[in-house]
């Protein structure tokens, strides 16, 4: 018997739970401003999530998926991207969308039930969030294929959850990306839960990163609560993809501290003790600790930031709440490039039924 293939999965972390470096930091992390920008983006995300949940609780927003405790994944991923790259998020990456220029008011409009929220004023080519789990992985491959055909040095970055890795779409997408060496990076936002299904019941595989092995692409793991590690590992994968060296699957290990969505009650299936323990690993405290250990972050800085974030989020919420309603006929007006004659009658009916 001879061994014909083997694999190893590497795990990367730079900061331990108390924010102390476990190895020399990557070059970008030597720059205080860069680290502070990452920190601010995570705090803004957490402030935004809290506001969105409270808007939902008070009947002013629809169902919402908080990213509490997972902020480092989308923020680290988006920070590693260039403006001209294309982001294809799932539905828990608002922190990354915001960093790429999606406005908070747009995210609120979307979850508030208004399609205009996906007509981003910022990153015009980024995909809207994807609700059918994992079905956007093929889109990322299509986008990357477009970049390759045009010879553009751009990368498609697709984020999906641990649950999504059990779907065929994700495998089919990685498989083709491998065959074509497409400029795409897949990131698993492994928050340990798919609603009530724990990671262990999702697959018998030891890591989700190794799902890349069957597709013939590199699979690596990163501490998803260490934003420096996410930014570094995903950044390296993105730059490899940009250089024509093909796709990568990055598994970011994090933890969903919130309910699945505002429509969920995680206490039905999850121990509070587990959640409390995981609070010790969350990414924001860790980076703050690191910054203040280095004398780069003071109590005043923190207070100023909290104030800034609240002001920004409150302004977005006010703008959201003051947005004039959608015209009812818009439900038909954007379906096709031009309204087919067959739909004219239905459009007239909508108009008539909703006339003031």
């Amino acid at each position: 018997m001879t061994q014909v293939a083997s694999f190893t999965i590497e795990h990367t972390r730079y900061l331990d739970l108390r924010g102390r470096p476990t190895q020399p930091l990557p070059a970008f992390a030597e720059n205080r401003d860069v680290l502070i920008a990452l920190y601010k983006a995570m705090v803004l995300t957490r402030t935004f999530d809290a506001k969105a949940v409270s808007l939902q609780r008070t009947g002013r927003l629809g169902t919402y998926a908080s990213s509490l405790g997972q902020e480092a994944v989308p923020v680290g991923v988006a920070a590693a991207m260039r403006a001209e790259d294309v982001f294809l998020p799932s539905f828990r990456e608002q922190g990354g969308q915001m960093l790429r220029g999606v406005r908070m008011v747009e995210i609120l409009l979307y979850w508030g039930g208004d399609e205009r929220g996906s007509d981003f004023t910022g990153p015009r080519e980024d995909f809207p969030i994807c609700v059918p789990v994992g079905t956007h992985a093929p889109h990322a491959v299509g986008v990357a294929h477009a970049f390759q055909l045009r010879g553009e040095a751009r990368v498609a970055v697709c984020v999906f959850g641990d649950g999504a890795t059990s779907r065929g779409d994700v495998y089919e997408a990685m498989n083709l990306a491998g065959v074509q060496r497409l400029p795409v990076v897949f990131v698993v936002n492994n928050n340990q839960w798919a609603i009530s299904v724990p990671r262990a019941r999702q697959t018998a595989a030891e890591t989700l990163a190794q799902k890349a092995v069957a597709a013939g692409i590199p699979g690596i793991q990163v501490d998803g609560n260490d934003v420096i590690a996410v930014r570094q590992v995903v950044g390296t994968a993105i730059e490899q993809a940009r250089a024509g060296e093909g796709p990568t699957l990055v598994e970011a290990l994090t933890y969903r501290l919130s309910d699945h969505t505002t429509a969920d009650d995680a206490s039905r299936y999850r121990d509070d003790a587990e959640v409390s323990a995981r609070w010790k690993e969350e990414p924001i405290t860790r980076l703050r600790q690191h910054l203040s250990d280095g004398g780069q972050w003071t109590k005043t800085d923190e207070e100023t930031l909290i104030g800034d974030c609240s002001a920004q989020v409150e302004a977005a919420a006010s703008e959201y709440l003051a947005t004039p309603p959608l015209p009812t006929t818009s439900m038909l007006d954007h379906l096709y490039a031009t309204l087919p004659a067959a739909l004219a009658e239905q459009r007239a009916e909508v108009e008539e039924a909703t006339e003031p």
Partner: protein, 326 residues
């Protein structure tokens, strides 16, 4: 100008579209060097290269999603599914993404893609190779469902589908892939979508059909003509969105109508047409709407296939009943 078959007309349209627009790409299984299982893409990889004629892995769920990504990036992908029986994984992408991307982004991102697949029975193919499931797609908002019934229509409608800014499911009746033939000027002129075509004029009864059933329907019309009955024959061509106006105006003149399709009877496009007639054409109807269709059963294997497919005799039986109704 020589006579060509429907499948050759498909190839001619694909080549024409690729010639005139760099962004048109072909994707599918075995479409490259092998030219596709029905040879619809024969020779295209030699002409346009493997960048534009791409053999994909066996990933039916993937292709349609891949096309969504390419479409959103400004390409015009044309995806071939080998048989309609293997298209179902694509429904997820068509319903959840292709048909709604324009709407959910208010036009910021769009999906100008075409999904092509041979469909229908009558060629004694193996299991899963003969179904007519066009109604599954015709129910989906935001897309077009187009079925040609002749080489000329295959050429013109496929060009229109590829140039259309929205997703189109283009189903090719494989029973008439190789016959009859027709002369086609490769002039790049598209045939309009969203429109039914009156392929035979008549004053006594309207026969409505699409795809390969046009053959039996026209034959029935000839038989009736010999008996002094002039049937008008309408080829629906674009099943979604449906041009009821043409159908209603024909029935307004004839007062009688039969709908003929290979797909199972219930819950399909024929039912939609009948409902449209009941809704808006009832005053003109002199007889109940006749229907000739496949049965509401699993498509039989080849031994019983001919008993499933609507025949000229079945059409005539129904039309005569419609004509006799006083």
């Amino acid at each position: 100008m020589s006579e060509i078959t429907l499948v050759e007309a498909v190839r001619l349209a694909l080549a024409r579209a690729m010639e005139e627009d760099e962004t048109v790409l072909l994707l599918g299984e075995d479409i490259g060097i092998d030219g596709g299982v029905f040879r619809a893409t024969d020779g295209l990889i030699e002409r346009f290269g493997e960048r534009r004629v791409m053999d994909t892995p066996l990933s039916e769920s993937l292709f349609a999603g891949l096309a969504v990504g390419l479409g959103a990036q400004g390409f015009r992908p044309v995806v071939e599914y080998q048989f309609m029986g293997f298209i179902y994984p694509a429904i997820d992408q068509v319903v959840n993404h292709a048909g709604r991307l324009r709407n959910r982004t208010r036009g910021r991102l769009t999906c100008p893609m075409v999904i092509r697949a041979p469909y229908g029975g009558g060629i004694h193919a193996p299991e899963h190779h003969s179904e007519s499931m066009e109604a599954l797609f015709a129910h989906i908002p935001g897309i077009r469902v187009v079925i040609p019934s002749s080489p000329a229509h295959a050429y013109g409608l496929l060009l229109a589908a590829i140039r259309d800014p929205d997703p189109v499911v283009f189903l090719e009746p494989k029973r008439i892939y190789r016959a009859p033939k027709e002369e086609i000027a490769d002039d790049g002129v598209a045939t309009p979508l969203d429109q039914c075509f009156t392929v035979r004029e008549g004053r006594d009864v309207t026969l409505i059909t699409w795809g390969a059933m046009i053959i039996e329907t026209l034959a029935a019309a000839e038989t009736l003509a010999a008996e002094g009955v002039e049937a008008e024959v309408i080829d629906v061509a674009t099943l979604k969105p449906l041009d009821m106006a043409t159908i209603l105006s024909s029935v307004e003149r004839t007062g009688r109508c039969a709908i003929i399709h290979e797909a199972p009877l219930s819950g399909g496009v024929g039912a939609e047409i009948a409902a449209g007639l009941a809704n808006r054409g009832l005053v003109n109807l002199l007889a109940p709407v006749g229907r000739v269709a496949g049965y509401d059963t699993v498509m039989p294997l080849p031994r019983l296939e001919i008993y499933y497919m609507p025949t000229q005799e079945r059409i005539l039986r129904t039309v005569r009943r419609v004509l006799a109704y006083a």
